[in-house]
């Protein structure tokens, strides 16, 4: 290493050293200074690893343009059994498990841009399930903003199956 390079390296070391010493002294002097070394780990709150894919939102008024669609109901099965969008498929969102591979296969077979997920507003299950489906390889998945309540409030047709005897 040349003399010039050594000089530069030495000086950058001096800069780092001066910075470190100033930092240490000021930290000791200031009331909000922190302890120099800590043995207990920090409580870190990091959200779960991000979902790499995010489905697009669809407003209720844009539904007219959405022809040839298949609605996937992300609400719990009990809600689906009470009231649902006519012809909707039930695929309840479960934060702890992924959708069954067989269902994914069926949805993939529909082709791109055909799936609209409808959930409930409480846990935004429509958006979450749509993201999972997109991640699983379903192309052009969208979710209805406002979920099933938005559908109902817009006066759209609702199917109410006969109660089972």
């Amino acid at each position: 290493m040349s003399r010039q390079a050594l000089k530069i390296l030495g000086r950058s070391f001096v800069l780092a050293l001066v910075g470190s010493v100033v930092g240490l002294v000021i930290n000791l002097a200031r009331p909000e200074g922190i302890e120099f070394s800590r043995s207990e780990p920090y409580n870190i709150y990091v959200p779960c690893p991000m979902m790499p894919k995010e489905a697009k939102a669809l407003e209720i008024q844009d539904l007219q343009e959405a022809k040839d669609m298949v609605f996937v109901d992300a609400r719990p099965r009990a809600d689906y059994d009470k009231q649902r969008i006519p012809g909707a498929w039930s695929l309840p969102y479960n934060p702890l498990t992924s959708p069954p591979p067989l269902e994914i296969k069926k949805l993939k077979a529909l082709g791109p841009n055909r799936i609209i997920v409808v959930g409930d507003t409480e846990i935004d299950s429509g958006r979450l399930l749509a993201a999972e489906l997109a991640e699983a390889g379903c192309l052009g998945v969208r979710y209805l903003k406002g979920g099933f309540p938005a559908w109902k409030n817009a006066g759209k047709k609702v199917e109410e199956p006969e109660p089972k005897p």
Binding site: L15, A16, L24, I34, R38, I44, P49
Partner: protein
């Protein structure tokens, strides 16, 4: 031709040097103001052992400040550019490790976690550009437009 290019590089090095100095001073302000928060940011990366988190949070912002001021003043220009480039290599490595772990977290570069500044590959590109700037100053800036040059002329 080579002389012309050298001249051009030299005149480019001055604004890059000042820009980098300002960036580093801006980056250290929140870290100096709230060392506890910065320590938490460092800990979130999960790279350093816990015993080294606080020393890093205490010392790093002041090194950034001193190197930033030195760059702007043109004092020990190449040395401060080397120190800044070294820090940039460290930051980029930390970012790449965090991104490879799919951590959704604040960069901790300019603001506290609550203020956003989430990491992504654009953060890596931004830091890489700053690293390139630091290396450019290290190679091409001989400090003639700064205290280095002034001291040379006084000698």
């Amino acid at each position: 031709m080579i002389q012309k290019l050298q001249k051009l590089a030299l005149s480019l090095a001055l604004p890059i040097r000042i820009y980098l100095g300002v960036v580093f001073i801006a980056a250290c302000l929140y870290k100096i103001a709230d060392p506890q928060e910065f320590a938490l940011s460092i800990a979130t990366y999960g790279i350093l052992p816990v015993e080294l988190v606080n020393p890093m949070a205490i010392m790093l912002p002041w090194i950034e400040l001193i190197c930033g001021i030195a760059l702007i003043l043109g004092f020990w220009t190449k040395a401060s550019a080397l120190a800044i480039s070294g820090m940039m290599v460290m930051f980029i490595t930390a970012l790449v490790i965090a991104l490879s772990k799919h951590l959704q977290m604040s960069c901790g570069c300019f603001a506290s976690a609550e203020a956003g500044d989430d990491i992504n590959y654009l953060t890596v590109i931004r830091d890489s550009l700053w690293l390139a700037g630091g290396l450019f100053v290290l190679v091409f800036d001989d400090g003639r437009w700064g205290m280095d040059g002034l001291m040379r002329r006084l000698r």
